[in-house]
């Protein structure tokens, strides 16, 4: 990239894209978003956007211009991270990474979907796997493994209970546990407030 373009995207004052969320993008090393020309190639390439209300360009634009309602817009969870937008962006912006960052900010502020919370908390944190083979419900999968001459449980964390604890320690240390607890707490508070509003 030419030096001037580099200077252009790193310059400090650019009012329309200097919202709180825009700053978070910049802090995460995604300052390249300032080179966006709003061409909409990301939206046009999106297989999810074609069949749902999710619009890539619009979601990022809203984030940059300070429309914080985008964080609670469940449409941002319809990106399947297929990377077409990232591949085709004429300005070389890592668009998918922007959506991921937007989701990271949403989770930080308590906008986590129930199904994802369950996956993170009850499955990944509890077992170390995203799709486990432990538990009574999964016996048929262990039997299937055995029928192929494989051990009923793979030699992953599944075979080493102490490794599950080790991973939980690691997830506690990096703040993942806290992130989930905080998201759950904020979510609960919002639900209570909404309930109160309704009663009044």
């Amino acid at each position: 990239m030419s030096e001037n373009v580099e200077k252009y995207i790193k310059r400090k004052v650019y009012k329309s894209t200097s919202s709180r969320i825009a700053q978070k993008f910049v802090d995460a090393g995604l300052e390249k978003i300032r080179a966006c020309i709003n061409c909409g190639t990301c939206t046009g390439s999106c297989p999810s956007g074609r069949r749902t209300a999710y619009r890539t360009r619009s979601a990022i634009r809203r984030a940059l211009t300070g429309d914080e309602s985008v964080l609670k817009d469940i449409d941002i969870w319809l990106c399947s991270t297929c990377y077409y937008c990232y591949e085709r962006c004429p300005r070389d912006i890592p668009v998918t990474d922007m959506i991921i960052k937007l989701r990271n900010i949403a989770v930080e502020e308590g906008y986590i979907l129930d199904s994802h919370f369950g996956l993170a908390n009850d499955i990944f944190y509890a077992t170390g796997h995203g799709v486990p083979a432990t538990g009574e419900n999964n016996k048929k999968w262990r039997d299937l493994r055995e029928s192929y001459g494989l051990p009923p449980l793979p030699p992953t964390v599944h075979s080493y209970p102490e490794a599950v604890k080790e991973c939980q320690e690691l997830m506690n240390a990096v703040g993942f546990r806290k992130l989930l607890d905080n998201a759950a707490k904020l979510k609960e508070e919002r639900a209570q407030a909404a309930k109160k509003d309704k009663e009044e």
């Binding site: 995460a28 297989p47 999810s48 069949r51 749902t52 469940i74 969870w77 319809l78 990106c79 399947s80 991270t81 297929c82 990377y83 077409y84 990232y86 591949e87 890592p94 998918t96 991921i100 960052k101 989701r103 990271n104 989770v107 930080e108 979907l113 199904s115 994802h116 996956l119 993170a120 990944f124 170390g128 796997h129 995203g130 799709v131 486990p132 083979a133 999964n138 999968w141 299937l144 493994r145 192929y148 001459g149 494989l150 793979p154 030699p155 992953t156 964390v157 080493y160 490794a163 080790e166 991973c167 320690e169 690691l170 997830m171 240390a173 990096v174 703040g175 993942f176 992130l179 989930l180």
Partner: protein, 303 residues
């Protein structure tokens, strides 16, 4: 120095816990080709590049680095059979090799649980790339005992090739690596409309909004049905799951009548290298249970 012709086999979640036939086939293929396959003991979920990275990218990176360290201790490159695992591990491995600041941050956290340090000594490989480029169609021809004469549609999935500037395998808009490889196995690969788009499972979409996921998938299936292949060939257990459960869903809810067998590249290659059809495991899958590979045994050359 990483050991030659040796792989630390990263299992992930879906393959060992739902499709053990793919695990069995991959081991069979790689060992027959002369590779040593090592278990990655105590490995976790990669963690998935869609849903887990969406919570916090930093945490995702640390959890992935722990898995990478397990392979580093074995002095072996990682072999994955899943686009998701490949996406996570390849990206984090490459990023931490290049970014000193993040490497130090990650190592600080890893130190807290004991003997883990990311050193950046290994590479992460996908079985499709090892078979397609390293073994190659030229190399597989000598070791297969039979060919499957069939028409198949190939589903590349997303994270195997994209983003191209990180994966650096080949163009994501017109790849041919798998087509060329399976041609040597007797497969005629059939192009179909929008072949390279997503199956609709990734990014946490399947977990959160099954209907949206099925809308993306339904169109995919419609396009596949137009060319009437013998089976669907994939290189990712998550796409595999989507094609299996998705067809079932469409049959039950959208009055479709699909029964296309879904076959992973490892399963197909294992069959051609002599593994019994019984171990390919179609009878335990949801779709195409009755399907039996056609084709013929390769004739011995008479000298």
């Amino acid at each position: 120095m990483v050991k030659e012709n040796t792989f630390a086999f990263f299992l992930g979640c879906l393959m060992p816990n739902r499709y053990p036939a793919i695990e069995k086939s991959t081991k069979f293929v790689m060992q027959k080709l002369g590779y040593e396959i090592l278990d990655m003991e105590r490995a976790t979920c990669c963690p998935a590049p869609g849903v887990f990275r969406s919570f916090n990218k930093g945490d995702w990176m640390v959890a992935a680095a722990r898995n990478l360290c397990i392979a580093e201790k074995l002095d072996s490159d990682i072999l994955t059979v899943c686009n998701g695992c490949f996406g996570t591990l390849q990206e984090v491995n490459k990023h931490l090799k290049e970014n000193k600041e993040h490497r130090e941050l990650v190592n600080e956290k890893l130190k807290l649980i004991g003997n883990y340090e990311f050193r950046g000594t290994i590479d992460v490989r996908h079985v499709a790339e090892v078979l397609g480029y390293e073994v190659g169609p030229w190399g597989i021809e000598d070791v297969i005992i039979r060919k499957v004469n069939a028409r198949a549609v190939i589903h590349y999935g997303c994270h195997f090739l994209k983003p191209t500037r990180i994966r650096e395998i080949e163009s994501s808009e017109g790849p041919t690596i798998i087509e060329e490889f399976v041609e040597a196995l007797g497969i005629e690969s059939v192009r179909f409309k929008e072949q390279l788009t997503c199956c609709g499972a990734g990014g946490g979409v399947k977990a959160y909004d099954g209907t949206a996921s099925m809308r993306i998938f339904g169109e995919k299936m419609k396009n596949i049905d137009e060319v009437k292949p013998d089976f669907i060939l994939d290189i990712c257990p998550f796409c595999h799951l989507q094609y299996e459960t998705g067809q079932d869903y469409l049959n039950k809810n959208k009055s479709c009548n699909y029964d296309y067998p879904v076959i992973h590249l490892s399963q197909l290659t294992a069959y051609c290298m002599g593994m019994d059809q019984e171990f390919i495991g179609l009878q335990y899958q949801l779709m195409g249970r009755e399907y039996i590979f056609g084709g013929e045994e390769k004739e011995e050359e008479v000298i």
